[in-house]
């Protein structure tokens, strides 16, 4: 093997996996804390005296200006301490520039800073009271008068002609890329597909609502807030409040889901800090579920046009993927939706382009697999449509167009098992039973169909640090400001450390989610495990190397004089060849106060030599009720080429969690904008339909035995997001296979297939 990752340690115990801790289906180490209610979430801290409660008042116009605010009734209400508005809020830094810099999550995020209203539901006041109930009641007593901007725009389609070309798109990707001559190739292609798809706004909606508690001690601020990346939350708060970054501490040891929405700092954290400053007491602020629709993340609405040109035997000659996506006048977020088609299939002539459409709505932002999820819908539904046009099996069509290298960068893939995923999945799923003609497979009153689609997500690694302290009693404590947003970070980092230190997992404690700990990349972009896990591996290697030095130089040790590079930590002992000494004995004698190891790396190479992604194949079987058009998923299978698996259980949970969220994207989730005022109409979980248990059938996720030699020293691929990718397309393709109805507007609800079903009298 050549060109190992630049941060590879001298000894890689994860690769050796002598103990077998790596890959084991270890139960979540924080599981007991969570199911017994002892895991403390940000709103639950009671350690602080005199806590008060803030409640947000949201704007009730879509765009315009506050002409008058009367807070007198609210201030006169019992137990109310303060009402903050733009007129009296503590000073903050100006709003960040519209175009994102290198890191869109590390920037000022002020609230209550202007009389302007940018979007429906934007905070216009914060009421602080001694109880939550008093604050909420008084919030209703704040009277705000507005002047509405009649020119406000809320409709994507109506504004598509006014689209503009952004300088770049999310994740630092290029707005447009091209190769060859698409127009000529598409013009002369014997078989063509030219189709457009509409995808709605979707909201992340983690179960733990966005909540924060802020405590000032002199000029030092502690914020308990559910965040995915501790360090950027700290930096954002410092920038917004214009205080030194070292004066801000963010505490976020447990996070009840994020899906991207807890990467940014949202209103509750900033307002809690402002409120606490104003009343000189700690303040808790939680967003209500309806408030979360306006004031946390959501995926933007988009229109996608997909053109595919192919030879008669199904070789793609031309691919064009054009995307129009919602963005705002005050913050540019352009989801990298056309990035998916840049990586999937070979074709000599290609075009991948994005446009932004500015609407007066809350800013869109990252949601699980930003870019890849919506992009996979257009690419993978269009592939299915092309297969129909070619009268070819859609999986065979995809396999025929498997590229030799990354179609965009022409770098070799570090590993890519898409074809194997399809072959294995087709066999397990019984793909050969798929009806060749749509609408021909019946089960009682159900029309049954099969669909498949590809999944892909980049394999990334970001700079991270960690430390480990080994005590003389043979236990270890790992520290990093990494977060566990339900993904299993505590557990997989425990496994990495245990294997690296030669200890049982129950001797290792992992501490996360506090900016006082070594800085990590946090949770996002599916880079969490690779980034923080590599740092933990390096910290353990540092500890091993220190211990090796000690024993090699200690005449009393049986390992005296051994080559430090061959001295390993195994089974609670320090080992070199046949010689060994117990770790506890070594530490008691040579380092009674313990050994600390530190690990830090700079992330993946800036100029990568390989293209690294996780690929997968999604399979779905749906039933469509022949009378009502109700669509129910009958079973799903995802097969992934995912490198080494750190924990079979948490990996599976990540993948099936993503697949379930994909059911939402395909069939149920849509945040409807009222085009008259820019509000979200169905802004609660009764009417914003996420899949419930009854919608979630037998789902299997399989990880192929794949070796990833380059992306990171652990040989892993992040699995937090890839599970959602391709699911909506697989479901859409299955609905077509079941009914012959091709729905290009998502989510696929029963009203969209009803017109294409047989007459009600059909038997």
């Amino acid at each position: 093997m050549t060109n190992r990752s630049p941060i590879s340690p001298a000894i890689n115990p994860v690769e050796e996996n002598r103990q077998g801790t790596i890959g084991k289906a270890l139960d979540r180490v924080d599981g007991a804390l969570k199911v017994t209610g002892r895991a403390k979430y940000s709103y639950e801290y009671r350690g602080v005296k005199d806590t008060t409660y803030g409640f947000i008042v949201g704007a009730t116009i879509g765009k315009g200006r506050i002409s008058a605010i009367d807070t007198s009734r609210a201030l006169a209400a019992p137990r109310v301490l303060a009402v903050l508005t733009y007129q009296n809020a503590p000073k903050q830094a100006p709003l960040h520039p519209r175009e994102p810099g290198a890191n869109r999550y590390d920037r000022s995020e002020p609230f209550l800073f202007s009389a302007d209203v940018r979007y429906f539901g934007e905070p216009v006041a914060l009421v602080v009271a001694e109880t939550f109930e008093a604050a909420r009641h008084a919030a209703g007593l704040v009277s705000v008068r507005y002047v509405s901007d009649e020119q406000a725009q809320f409709d994507l389609r109506a504004n598509q002609s006014r689209a503009y070309k952004p300088k770049g798109v999310n994740a630092g990707m290029k707005t447009d890329t091209s190769e060859g001559d698409f127009d000529a190739a598409f013009g002369s292609a014997p078989v063509k597909i030219d189709v457009s798809y509409y995808l709605p706004y979707e909201h992340n909606m983690p179960m733990e609502p966005h909540a924060a508690q802020a405590v000032w001690e002199d000029d030092r601020l502690t914020v308990y807030s559910g965040q995915q990346i501790s360090a950027t939350a700290q930096s954002t708060l410092a920038k917004t409040l214009q205080i030194p970054v070292e004066n801000v501490r963010v505490v976020t040891p447990f996070v009840g889901g994020g899906f991207g929405s807890k990467v940014p700092v949202h209103a509750q954290a900033v307002l809690a800090a402002l409120g606490a400053k104003a009343v000189r007491r700690p303040v808790k602020v939680a967003q209500t579920r309806p408030q979360m629709f306006a004031n946390t993340n959501h995926r933007p609405e988009c229109l996608q046009r997909m053109r595919l040109g192919a030879s008669k035997d199904g070789i793609l000659t031309a691919i064009a993927h054009d995307v129009w996506t919602q963005t705002t006048p005050f913050d540019e977020f352009i989801e990298q939706t056309a990035a998916f088609s840049r990586v999937l299939y070979a074709a000599p002539n290609r075009l991948h382009r994005h446009w932004g459409v500015i609407l007066d709505l809350p800013t869109s932002d990252i949601m699980r697999a930003p870019g890849e999820e919506p992009g996979s819908v257009a690419q993978e539904c269009a592939m299915d449509e092309l297969a129909v046009a070619l009268d070819m099996d859609p999986i065979e069509l995809r396999i025929k167009n498997e590229p030799q290298d990354d179609p965009e960068t022409h770098l070799p893939f570090s590993s890519r098992s898409l074809v194997e995923c399809y072959r294995e999945g087709a066999q397990r799923f019984g793909w050969s039973n798929r009806p060749k003609r749509p609408g021909t497979l019946r089960d009682g009153r159900w029309l049954v169909g099969y669909g498949a689609a590809s999944a892909m997500f980049p394999t990334l690694m970001r700079p991270s640090a960690a430390s480990v302290r080994l005590s003389a009693d043979g236990t270890a404590v790992v520290q990093t400001d990494m977060t566990d947003i339900g993904t299993g970070s505590y557990t997989v980092l425990t496994q990495v450390a245990a294997e690296s230190l030669g200890l049982p997992a129950n001797k290792v404690t992992v501490q996360l989610g506090d900016t006082r700990l070594p800085k990590s990349a946090g949770s996002g972009g599916s880079f969490g495990a690779a980034s923080s896990g590599s740092a933990v591996l390096l910290a353990c290697e540092d500890a091993r190397s220190r211990i090796a030095q000690l024993v090699a130089n200690d005449r009393r040790s049986p390992l005296a004089g051994a080559d430090v590079n061959t001295i390993a930590l195994r089974d609670g002992s320090v080992v070199a060849g046949e010689k060994s000494e117990s770790l506890q004995a070594v530490l008691s004698r040579l380092a009674p106060s313990g050994i600390e190891g530190k690990g830090e790396h700079e992330g993946a190479e800036k100029q990568p030599k390989y293209s690294s992604h996780v690929f997968g194949a999604q399979f779905a079987e749906v039933g469509v009720d022949i009378d009502t058009g109700e669509i129910r998923v009958r079973r799903m299978l995802g097969v992934f080429g995912s490198g080494r698996i750190l924990n079979a259980k948490t990996a599976r949970s990540q993948l099936i969690g993503g697949m379930i969220m994909g059911i939402g994207a395909g069939l149920t989730e849509e945040s409807v904008v009222d085009l008259r005022d820019g509000s979200y109409v169905n802004h609660d979980l009764a009417e914003y339909h996420v899949p419930v248990n009854a919608d979630t059938p037998r789902i299997e996720a399989i990880c192929l035995d794949e070796k990833e030699p380059y992306a990171n020293p652990l040989g892993i691929k992040g699995l937090g997001e890839v599970g959602i990718v391709g699911v909506a397309a697989a479901l859409a393709n299955a609905v077509y296979n079941a009914t012959g109805v091709r729905v290009r507007e998502f989510p696929i609800t029963l009203d969209k297939v009803l017109g294409g079903l047989p007459e009600a009298t059909a038997t």
């Binding site: 009730t60 109930e133 909420r136 009641h137 209703g140 309806p290 009153r445 009378d627 009502t628 058009g629 109700e630 129910r632 069939l667 149920t668 409807v672 009222d674 008259r676 509000s679 109409v681 169905n682 802004h683 609660d684 009764a686 009417e687 339909h689 899949p691 419930v692 248990n693 009854a694 919608d695 609800t749 029963l750 009203d751 009803l754 017109g755 009600a760 009298t761």
Partner: protein
Amino acid sequence: MIPFTYERATDANDAAKAASQPGARFIAGGTNLLDLMKLEIEKPAHLVDITRLPLREVEITNGAVRIGSQVPNSELAAHPLIRERYPVLSRALLAGASGQLRNKASTGGNLLQRTRCYYFYDTSKACNKREPGSGCAALQGFNRIHAILGASDSCIAVHPSDMAVALTALEASIETVLPDGSTRTLPIGELYRLPGDTPHIETNLRPGELITAVVLPAPPAGNQTYRKVRDRASYAFALVSVAAIVRVEAGRVRDARIALGGVAHKPWRALDAENALRGKPASMESFVNAAQAALAPAKSHGGNDFKIPLAQRVLTRTLADVAGTEAAA
């Protein structure tokens, strides 16, 4: 939430009296009222808790079944009498809400739950039901879930209950006690009102009038079923639902009771469909005709256009299923 006073009633008469004062409301399971109070859509000054009243029995007398108004939905759905004699009711109950909500929700409270219209729940929007005279934001807004039958220009909201649809088909009646201690019985058809120009007045109950029981007459002969069509498999309100009781003899429909849910301001008794069906052959043609008769007066508002063909289709199929089984037996 606006501050309020609270009392726990121990006697139905006293409860009715207490609730007749201005601004007072009963509270039982609170599965709807508490949400509405938090949103300041319901603003009671005084709550009369009726959960401890001795109204939790399901009894059979002279062939009729009397259900105390405090019987929880989950208990009622599982009750052997209901399962055996009124399966349409058991199915309707189990099609509603979630296990947790059904454990809390009472029979009387289920009848009186309020609409799930998005605009009713959003105090920043016009709603004649919430604020008489303010207008109806749903009429020109997003109205996918709204009414196609019996609506008005003032309100196109629908009643969300599944249970009440089954009770309508079963011709249940409602027993109440009034603040003066008198009692009365209303057929369920007379409990609810259409919106007209007073959509804020949803029932014909008088101030303080307390529902003490729901009485089911002996079950009509024939097969019963409840079919609910919704956007996800559980925990979603009906787009359209059908409660049907059909009796077929010698290949002809002797009698039919049909009620539709999710289509109107109240559970919608489809008398036109029943009349179209009675005496006709138990055939697909008759079912289609009956469904067309039921939906003939339907009017949609854009977002809910699909509900008319959907209701026709699901009614046709439900009739075929319920009659077909009977014919075969």
